[in-house]
């Protein structure tokens, strides 16, 4: 047993079962070799597995000329990285000063009671992981609870059961119309300023955003849902996932491009003007859901 634990890292990489070496290498390839990219790499690995497996960290240090000590030091330094497997849903309760005086300890007690675990632990059915943070920067909205990246403000103990039920079902299946975080926007081309809205083929019951795309020398239209927060699309071409497409304006034909790259996958972002002032940017990679809205 001991021999196994002391085996060299290259042996280790071969015996590991849960971690796919090619998967990690793909993540590593995306990021450049300099030291600064480490946190981005770890974030992506954690996004994939829900935590940072030991084998994954060893592969990262082996293949990217970083020492294991440095990788391990960064992985243990930041609270958002976990070296232990986490549950499907991450429940994060804020215990900062403002949330604390507004009753966050009672919220944490209720979460502990309902989930049957202490902060930092995972339920036996691997559904929920409970964590506390010291401040989320949303003090005016306290007490704040974050479940799977969705923020809930002014949480009362009576609401917790409902929130956990919703989390079990998944927040992404939230009903359009009932959810205030999903709202329609109208956009226009940044070059010719003509509207991209198209009423002939509605998506989600609203007019869709129509643009032309080119991929692999083929051209076709792409219709996006105009609901901010909805990722529904309709496309003429069959685009395989993970490919970057070029997006053109159907009116002026110019390629819609912007100087910034996607913060998640580094594909170019596509800007569109929002009526009433502002810019919405979407990632040009199929399957990447990164987007940002900048309202003036």
């Amino acid at each position: 047993m001991k021999q196994e634990a002391f085996a060299s890292s290259s042996d280790r990489v071969e015996v590991c079962e849960d971690v796919d070496v090619t998967n990690i290498l793909r993540i590593l390839e995306k990021h450049n070799e300099d030291r600064g990219g480490l946190i981005a790499i770890l974030e992506e690995i954690q996004g994939e597995y829900g935590y940072l497996p030991e084998e994954a960290l060893r592969i990262v240090s082996d293949r990217s000329r970083r020492s294991l000590v440095d990788v391990y030091g960064v992985a243990t330094f930041y609270r958002s990285f976990s070296l232990k497997p986490r549950g499907k849903h991450l429940v994060c309760a804020c215990l900062g000063t403002a949330c604390h005086v507004r009753g966050a300890p009672r919220i944490v007690e209720e979460l502990k009671h309902q989930l049957g675990i202490k902060p930092g632990e995972t339920t036996p059915d691997k559904e929920f992981t409970l964590e506390t943070v010291n401040c989320l920067g949303a003090c005016a909205l306290g007490p704040v609870v974050v479940i799977d990246g969705h923020y809930f403000s002014k949480v009362r103990t009576s609401r917790i059961g409902q929130l956990l039920d919703e989390a079990r079902k998944g927040f992404d299946s939230a009903e359009i119309g009932k959810d205030k975080r999903i709202f329609p926007i109208s956009v226009s081309c940044p070059h010719c300023n003509r509207s991209l809205m198209d009423e002939t083929l509605p998506i989600d019951g609203y007019p869709s955003i129509k643009v032309n795309i080119t991929h692999d020398h083929e051209e076709g239209w792409l219709r996006l849902s105009c609901l901010y927060g909805s990722h529904n699309i309709a496309a003429e071409l069959d685009i395989p996932g993970n490919t970057v497409v070029k997006i053109h304006c159907p009116h002026c034909g110019l390629e819609i491009l912007c100087t910034s790259d996607c913060s998640m996958c580094r594909a170019p972002m596509v800007p569109m003007l929002v009526h009433g002032g502002g810019v919405v940017k979407i990632c040009s990679r199929r399957g990447c859901k990164n987007h940002m809205l900048d309202l003036v």
Partner: protein, 226 residues
């Protein structure tokens, strides 16, 4: 060349020289725990504090990391420096009361009692071993992990590191010397640096875990005051 004034003495040093090196060049003793020639300066123990600048804007800086500046006025033993140094030593002593090195330094600075709760840690996080491993042994087997009050030194995942050659450099260099302290079996000691020929204090009832090397003995002093 940069000219600066240390304790009223003018000295010319090359660009990039630290205040600590300049002061030591002039013969002014500045105590250090985390500094060692051949390792990069780190500024962790803060024992090397000196006062720079003129009266209302004078400030304390760690001399091991502060580069010499043209016309800088440095005081290495002003009352403010000594007071800060004594406080740092008291805190270090509270975290690692068993360390002979820290006890000697504390004794030298006139600390006669421990006002803080003793923690009996075996590390002051000075980073000497980490730098030794990385810079002199080219190994990078140990490093810092976790953060804040949980910060500690160790190998990744707490298993023996593949790159460690068991050179013992980290233990040799450690000022807290918990790891290498085998004073009653000196032949087994790696360096013998913590070998103490005078017996540890006998009257140490309230300090059961402590081996008191201080002169005069802290435990006895406190007991005598009772």
């Amino acid at each position: 060349m940069i000219t600066l004034r240390i304790n009223g003495l003018d000295v010319s040093v090359e660009k990039g020289t630290t205040l600590l090196e300049a002061a030591r060049f002039l013969g002014f003793a500045i105590p250090t725990l985390c500094h060692m020639d051949g390792l990069s300066p780190y500024g962790a123990c803060r024992l090397c504090v000196v006062e720079i600048g003129e009266a209302p804007k004078a400030k304390l800086v760690s001399s091991c990391t502060y580069p010499a500046e043209e016309g800088l006025k440095v005081r290495t033993t002003s009352s403010r420096v000594l007071r800060a140094r004594r406080m740092i030593l008291e805190l270090l002593l509270a975290s690692c009361p068993q360390s002979k090195t820290i006890q000697d330094l504390a004794s030298k600075h006139g600390i006669r009692r421990q006002r803080f709760k003793q923690e009996y840690e075996d590390c002051i996080l000075c980073g000497l071993c980490v730098r030794m491993c990385e810079e002199q042994m080219m190994a990078k087997a140990i490093g810092f992990r976790n953060r804040g009050e949980n910060r500690e030194i160790g190998t990744p995942f707490d298993v023996k590191s593949d790159v460690c050659r068991l050179c013992g450099g980290c233990m040799y260099i450690c000022p807290v010397c918990q790891l290498r302290c085998t004073y009653n079996e000196p032949e087994k000691a790696i360096c013998g640096g913590c070998m103490n020929l005078s017996p540890p204090c006998i009257e140490k009832e309230p300090f059961d875990d402590m081996m008191c090397y201080m002169d005069p003995c802290v435990a006895c002093e406190i007991q005598n005051n009772k």
